[in-house]
Amino acid sequence: MDLSYSPEELAFRDEVRSFLRDELPKELSDKVRSGAELGKADIERWHAILNARGWFAQNWPKEFGGAAWNAVQRHIFEEEAAMADAPRIVPFGLSMLAPVLQKFGSKAQQDHYLPRILNGDDWWCQGYSEPGAGSDLASLKTRAVREGDHYIVNGQKTWTTLGQHANMIFCLVRTDPDVKQQAGISFLLIDMDTPGIEVRPIILLDGTPEVNEVFFKDVKVPVENLVGEENKGWTYAKYLLTHERTNIAGVGFSRAGLDTLKRIARIEMSGGRPLIENPHFAARLAKVEIDLMAMATTNLRIISQAAGGAAPGVESSMLKVKGTIIRQEINDLTRRAVGPYAMPFPSETLEGNNDPVGPDYAGPQSAQYFNNRKLSIFGGSNEIQRGIIAKVKMGG
């Protein structure tokens, strides 16, 4: 048992810290810290900075130009980056699609798409969910029918995160309606500029256009855009879901959130004293911090197993549930901490053309509280995760 990082890991952390100190543009970290919306250009800029250093494709094998970091290295980076208010890396191409292409894609697909992901030439979005297929993803209905050299795709995807920025979408589509649901699904790569595709924004409850509906009407997709074999898409989708799970606990986000919360609670006054000295508030803060300390160690325990080659199983479901509960609790406390200034809707100030209403940290807190209700809904809802845990443990 040794709770400290090895000398190599510490050296790596120092390297990450100095990189973030030197290379993370202040405009970007200011935006992240203040909760402002990051535009496409902001995200692409950060991706490019990471790529220049060879640290964008952290989990890719060396042969594909990746950094081939182990799980502990990735964890260190994620934590340091969150604490430095670095923008989140958008995962769809980089850590969702790429591992699937690396394992199941054709040589031509690998040669074409992987460098484009590294260079930021393509922005990918994820076309899994449909109006009728959420938790029950295998019931998806978007249909692809083979006609000569093409598939003709008809149907609808929804909740497509940042689809408004995307030029490419990877989709699960039904290619065989007559077999067991899971056995009739294929994995298709679709160019969003193809005629017959329409993207409509969905405004979330905090007012942000974060997700979209994507409609397909007689969309022609070349057969070479099929990944792997026809009707094997479910296997690839499951591989994708289980592959990228090191950051599922979001420890770095929680640490950064807790820091912000404490900073706010030292400034806000309650009954003539700083809020952080208020016994009820302090007790709530302490509880969530205690939970986070334990979860950080759970996370490291699981990650170091993974670094030793063991595949994380139910543990990642546990981390998803606990990690999202902790993040949501921190959001809730931060909303409360700002008091009446949680009420203004920060529409103008978020766009940066006006002074904030109240203290600058107050504006985004209600929006973040509501927006992060998504954490326990997507990526396999917390109910689905609990179901997985029980099923694995009780062999149901």
Binding site: N278, R336, G339, P340, A367, E383
Partner: protein, 377 residues
């Protein structure tokens, strides 16, 4: 013991529920949310014509109600429909302060409030006062026959629509003394009054308000100099009863939306409401809802009692509802899945109304502390 509404209140509830179901549809409400003024003049007039505002005032004040249970009857319905119009500000806060302290000329304004032609706003909270009711740093200085106001007020709901702002300012004492606070009826067009308006997260509008050497005749003072605090506390007590009832109504809608969604949304070939994991959580929501209903009744039934009993019950109600309403809002969203995260869907607005009540006149923890202090007294 009788837990039924009187016939009059039952009629009020029925007609208000029918009116809102008919006129305050999700579509209409979403248009109101997007509008410049953040409220609908037609709806406001409609509510006045229906007697909804009058129900919040006593006969002596020109209304036909004004008791705690009149407030809860009205606000439960407003909460059920997610109404964003400023009933709390114009009728409860503004109306009660004028009714409690105003001279004859000032009281005459109540007719316009009840008729729906005059809006009011209570400009009391300051940038650093948080929920402390007696923390007033804005100043009022007597200068001959004039009063000169200076200071800033934070998140003043309905300030832009108000014909008069009811402004608290200190005439004597230290920053958080109970004594020394006065109220002034400040016309919206006064020189030296600046509003910076903005929309609120859960609908409606508010403003940051500042007074720079704002001169008023001393006849604009409401009541005696430095003696406004008991009236402020009473008006805020009524506002807390209203907020609790509004949250209760919103919780009813959230649980009902959740119930019907659980019964209709199919995943894995069956309604998600057939999963026991969700059934139990839905049941917990209903249990909390009934707790909340009782807490509202307790608070409303004590609104006319002495300040100590009144405030204890109100602190209890707002603490309990702060907890149960958060549970209902969050669980409703969770059990809906993605659909509840969309601005268009009714539940999103209802959940925002619920959570944002936690930021007016004290959050759940504030009311817990109040309860501890008052029950030790």
């Amino acid at each position: 013991m009788d837990f039924n509404l009187t016939d009059e209140r039952q009629m009020l509830q029925d007609s208000l529920r029918r009116y809102l179901a008919d006129k305050y549809t999700t579509k209409v409400r979403n248009e109101i949310l997007e509008s410049e003024t953040g409220m609908s003049g037609a709806i406001w007039t409609g509510l006045a014509d229906l007697g909804v505002i009058g129900a919040l005032f006593t006969e002596a004040q020109g209304g036909f109600g004004g008791a705690g249970f009149d407030i809860t009857t009205v606000f439960e319905e407003l909460g059920r429909a997610g109404v964003v119009e400023p009933m709390l500000d114009s009728a409860i806060l503004g109306g009660r302060l004028i009714a409690a302290l105003g001279d004859d000329a000032q009281q005459a304004l109540l007719g316009d409030v009840i008729g729906g032609t005059l809006h009011l706003a209570f400009a009391h909270g300051e940038p650093t006062s948080r929920y402390d009711l007696s923390r007033v740093q804005a100043t009022a200085v007597q200068n001959g026959d004039d009063i000169v106001l200076n200071g800033r007020k934070a998140v003043v709901a309905n300030a832009e629509a108000a014909g008069y702002l009811i402004v608290s300012a200190r005439e004597s004492g230290a920053a958080d003394d109970v004594d020394g606070i006065s109220l002034f009826l400040v016309p919206a067009d006064s020189a030296g009054l600046t509003l910076r308006g903005y929309p609120l997260f859960a609908g409606g509008r508010a403003a940051e308000v500042s007074f720079d050497d704002l001169h008023l005749p001393s006849s604009t003072r409401l009541g005696a100099a430095g003696a406004a605090y008991p009236a402020i506390a009473a008006a805020v007590a009524a506002a807390n009863v209203a907020l609790a009832a509004e949250a209760l109504g919103a919780m009813e809608t959230a649980t009902e939306l959740t119930r019907s969604y659980l019964m209709t949304r199919q995943q894995f070939g069956r309604p998600i409401g057939t999963f026991q994991a969700l059934q139990h959580r839905y049941s917990d929501m209903l249990i909390e809802l009934e707790q909340a209903r009782s807490a509202v009744i307790n608070a409303a039934g004590h609104l006319e009692r002495d300040a100590q009993q009144r405030d204890l019950q109100i602190a209890a109600a707002r603490n309990l509802i702060g907890r149960s309403a958060r549970l209902v809002a969050e669980e409703s969203i969770q059990m809906h899945g993605g659909i509840a995260m969309t601005q268009e869907y009714e539940l999103a607005h209802i959940a925002k109304r619920i959570v944002m009540t936690d930021h007016r006149f004290g959050d759940t923890d504030y009311h817990l502390e109040r309860f501890i202090a008052l029950s030790a007294a």
